[in-house]
Symmetry: C2
Subunit: 374 residues, 2 copies
Amino acid sequence: MLSFKVTAESGKARAGVLETPRGKVETPAFMPVATQGAVKALTHEELEGMGFGLIMANTYHLSLRPGIEAIGRLGGLHKFISWPGLIATDSGGFQVFSLAKLREVTENGVAFRSHLDGSLHEFTPEGVVAMQETFGSDLAMCLDVCPPAGAPPAEVERAVVRTTEWARRSVAARQKLPGGLFGIVQGGVDEVLRRRSAGEITGLGFEGYAIGGLSVGEEKEATLRTLALTAGLLPREAPRYLMGVGEPGDVIEAVAAGIDLFDCVFPTRVARNGLALTRQGRLVVRNAPAAGEDGPLDPGCSCLACRRYGRAYLRHLIHAREIAGMRLLTLHNLAFMRDMMEDARSAIRAGGFEAFRRERSAAWRAGPPDAEKG
Amino acid sequence: MLSFKVTAESGKARAGVLETPRGKVETPAFMPVATQGAVKALTHEELEGMGFGLIMANTYHLSLRPGIEAIGRLGGLHKFISWPGLIATDSGGFQVFSLAKLREVTENGVAFRSHLDGSLHEFTPEGVVAMQETFGSDLAMCLDVCPPAGAPPAEVERAVVRTTEWARRSVAARQKLPGGLFGIVQGGVDEVLRRRSAGEITGLGFEGYAIGGLSVGEEKEATLRTLALTAGLLPREAPRYLMGVGEPGDVIEAVAAGIDLFDCVFPTRVARNGLALTRQGRLVVRNAPAAGEDGPLDPGCSCLACRRYGRAYLRHLIHAREIAGMRLLTLHNLAFMRDMMEDARSAIRAGGFEAFRRERSAAWRAGPPDAEKG
């Protein structure tokens, strides 16, 4: 019910088409994050207008509010939020480990208290698959254990063992997912554990594979090394999803390593704080120099913000904390990500991804070094 | 440079057309409030899409940030904010009296400290006209003195005297307004003072007249009585603007008294707090009953929120404090105001405003009594 086809390769980078009964998405693709069922500051019309057909929602947040039962009663997540396109959902595991209180991991699953009201909940591999089946998720994730950067080797190994065991139970629990189930590879930045996890997870035969446990605070060099290693251990014919990476420079490197799917709050979160992603690098709109203040954020961009509004007005809106400012920068940053992924696909199809990578990485790194990053 | 024509009357209610070199607006009309140059939570495209051609911006706020000089350098307010439609601006006097610190009224004007950074400023009648000329305001207001409800008669009288004197100086100071200058009638809820203020202000021959000093905390009965009195003292051939009134029931009463223009943050402010204005009365979306939760906010509405999204999702967005929720309710509430004004104009043209007034007032008052109002 989820098909994926690699249509072009350039080095290790690949272009492809991912398809479920709900529609097609060209890869590599960036998935805007709709944590609570809405991409922050945007409406679905705007996402559709920008050409996004796949968004990422959050099982942890939606299970706490409005709750799985409410979403089921309303006909599933697509119907509840009025989004006819594809929806990927994570397992909620990452949020349990980062947001929830008093969590306790057992063989059975993970018990935790809601960060909203302290109520007690338990996520199990089977429960998490069932929740995503109630959602009707097109790309569902297995519950995994994601240790923080710097966790001792024994803890990382335990996470690998448990992630594999939970992945096995997830496969067994699956009943009626409309799309595909993704297994998640863990193993921190340890080569042996990554190889072991990738081997065990791919051995279970998922429709797609996610790389978890990266960009959780480790050194950038370790991220890139582990990413390249892990991507190479995943089957060519399945989509590869790098969880939580969305800084433009990192995305380009990950595409070079053979990653197909990305999600991250980076472009939308920094937008709300006044940072624009541009073809000339990062632009701190709050501090945008007066020179050229009539011009658009990025002369190469065709988004609404760049078509109509000047930097002086956008800077004013950010200073004045107007929602319109957050909206226009969010639209711009997502248009930037969309364009970058489109350009990446074109470069792969033309067999010139390595040149594209060099050119874009240089432009991106040319941004002001003091720019806000998160 | 501002023309106004009454095209139909029904009782004291009138329909008309207001025109400046920038365009035409049919009255009675509600002006969305763009305090800092943006209607909160919306973009200009959305206002245009809803058919709004006239918005109200705030001289006090814009003079403090980004500053008159910056706006002048960028070519005026329309160019700075990229809004080609009409813009009305108030004099800033009301905000000086309600927001600023350490204000001191002298014969010359009012000195105050900015609520943003404590910096010292002075507004004079001449300066306020010049600021609005720099903006290029289509509907500009004279600086006035607006006493709070319950001010002693002597203070209200002093405000009337000073408002007239400042109005005279405003007329003399005028050099290059592209549209019209409005005189403001004060006088609290005192009939004698209202008659005196209206006589003095209309004697100066403005293109339009604003009624100030109402809806500042006085009893509703006194508002309506004073409103009816004052509207009747204004020349038929000039537009009449009731400042700061925007609750649907009050707007209908004011149209019945012969008012043509309204501005108020009510519809947009309550939207961000989760209150929807509907043909069935007020709807507290946060508490919307589960029954019918798939349905739109208002089945009679054609706004984006009502066309696509159900109450359950909108309620979820409001609970989750998502900007999308504030946006969709703001769009809805402004569409409600637009539709109500359009219906009022139709009723006036058909000579049946009194029936319309009875029907709408009843529907509006039928809303839940505990609904949040401000």
